[in-house]
C-alpha cells in the first residue's frame, strides 16, 4: 500500500494504491488522470521540468524553458546539468526546440516564451 498526493491538478487528491497480485487498485482519486498518475508513480515516477537558460540579449538575460513532456523523475538533476552551459543567440518563439531528445528521453527542451514580444 502506498499513499500519495496527486499532483496532476490543484485539487490534490489524497490517493492510495494497493498492489494485489501485480494489479494496482487506486482509491481516493477524483478522475481518471489521477489513476494514471498513481500507477505511474508506483512503476516509474515522471515529472515535468522547467528552468531558465541564458541569452545574449541584455533586454532578456534569461528565458524560461521546459521539457515538452514528462521525464523520469530521477533525470531532473541531470537535465539541469545539460542545460547549464546553454546560451541562446537567436530570438526564439514559444515552443521552439533548444535541445532535441534530452538524455535520450525523446523529450525536447523548448522555450516557453516568445522573445519577439519583448523587443
Amino acid at each position: 500500500m502506498k499513499k500519495m498526493i496527486c499532483i496532476v491538478c490543484p485539487k490534490g487528491c489524497e490517493m492510495q494504491v494497493d498492489v494485489n497480485d501485480g494489479i494496482s487498485v487506486v482509491t481516493g482519486n477524483a478522475c481518471i488522470r489521477g489513476k494514471e498518475f498513481a500507477i505511474n508513480e508506483i512503476l516509474h515516477p515522471m515529472r515535468t521540468f522547467q528552468s531558465t537558460v541564458k541569452t545574449i540579449f541584455p533586454e532578456l538575460p534569461m528565458i524560461p524553458i521546459k521539457t515538452d513532456d514528462v521525464v523520469p523523475k530521477e533525470y531532473l538533476f541531470q537535465i539541469i546539468e545539460e542545460i547549464a552551459g546553454i546560451e541562446i543567440k537567436d530570438k526564439l518563439k514559444c515552443g521552439d526546440i533548444i535541445i532535441q531528445n534530452i538524455l535520450g528521453t525523446s523529450v525536447n527542451i523548448v522555450s516557453t516564451v516568445d522573445m519577439y514580444l519583448y523587443f
Binding site: C9, P10, T48, K66, K73, C94, V113
Partner: protein, 422 residues
Amino acid sequence: MEQFDIVIIGSGPAGLAAALEIEQSGLKQIIIERENRAGGILKQCIHDGFGLHRFKKRLTGPEYAELFLKRVIEKKIPIYKNTFVTEIIEMENKSYRLTLVNSEKSLFEIEAKALILANGCRERTAKQVFIQGTRPAGVYTAGTAQYFTNILGYLPCKKCVILGSGDIGLIMARRLTLEGAKVVGVYEVKDTPSGLSRNIAQCLDDFDIPLYLSKTVTKIHGDKRVEAVTVQKVDLNLNQIPGTEEIIACDGLILSVGLVPENELAKSLGVELDTHTKGPMVNQSLMTSKEGIFSCGNALHVHDLVDFVSESAEIAAKGGIRFVQNKGEEELIHVEFDEKSFLYIVPQKINLLDIEENIHFYFRSKKVLKNVSVVIRTGDTIIFKKFYHNMKPPEMETISVNLKNVLQNKEICFELKEGVST
C-alpha cells in the same frame, strides 16, 4: 487631456483578460503598466500548472500570460509601459482624472469614466511578521528570490531556510534546490501548511526537503550577510515556547508568509475595504463602493489559481462596460456569513437591481474541514447547497448561483453544516 471610457491599471493576467473583454465592446481603453514588460508576476512563474481549468492544459506562467498578451497585441489594445499612476482624483462630473508619469511624456493626465484596478498583490515582509535581530543581506521574500533566479539569473543564496509554506515558498524550495542551493527546511508557524497539497508533494517531498509545522523563525543572525536564524516551536495559540530555540546556519532566509492585495490606490480614492480579504468591498459586478471603480484578480482578494484571476477580470470588465454604457442604479445588501466557518466571501454585497445573471461567489474556509456542506440561506429557505469532501483554507472555492426571484427579506447568508446537510 486624453479621455478614455475605461482605464485598466496593471497588465498582469487580470489586466490583460479585462482588456480583451472590453475590446469586444468597442469602448476606448488603455492599460497602464509600471514595468517594461506586460504579464505581471506570471513572467517569473516559470513552473507549470497554470490554465488547467480554463485551457485544460498545464501551461507555465509565461505561456499563460502570452496567450492573452498575443491577442492584446493583435487587437492593438494600447499599453502605457514603464508608467506609474501617481494620483487619481474623482472629478465633479463623476469621471476620474489620473496623473501618470513615464520617461517619455514626463507627468501627464488622462481621464476615465471607469477604472479597473488590476494591480495585483504584495508579499508580506519580515517587518510585518516581527522577526527580531539584525537586517543583513540575504533576507528575501519568495517573490524577490524568484525574480533574482528566474528573470536576472542570480542565485540569491546557497543554503537557506524558508519561512512560511505559501505556494511561492514551496515553488522556490524546488527551484533553488534544482539550481544547486541547499534548502534546509520550510518552517510554518501554523499547524497546517498554507500552500496547496500538490506543491508540498512535488516541491518538498520529491526533493526530501523537510516541512516543520508549528515552528517559526524568531531571530536573524549576521552582520553584513545572514549567517544563521533561530527557529522556535510555537503552541496552538502561536506563542513561542521558551527553551525550544534552535540555531540553523544559513546564508539566506526566504519569506513566504502571505500575500496582501495592493490597495494604496483604492485607499486613496476612499474605496471601502474588507478586513477579511484586505481588498475592496465589491458587488457582483466587482464594482467597489466608489461608482465606476472596479477591482479584480489579486487586487480584490488573493487567488491561488490564475484561471480565476482571469475570470474575475472578465466579470469586472463586463461590469465596467455596463457602467459606462448605462449607469445602473444600486440597491445593495450585505452577504452575511458565519465568521467561524469562512475566511471570506467575495462579493461582499449584492446589488438587488442587477440579479438577472448567475453570480460567482469566491470563498475560503477558515480551517481544514472534511465532509461539510455549504448552504446559502435567505430567510428560512435554503436556496443552494453543495457538499465538499475536503475544504482547506489554501484552496479557494467557487460557486455560481442565480438569485433571481429567490431573495426573501433582502437577506442572503452563507453557512457551513457538518455532514450531508438535509
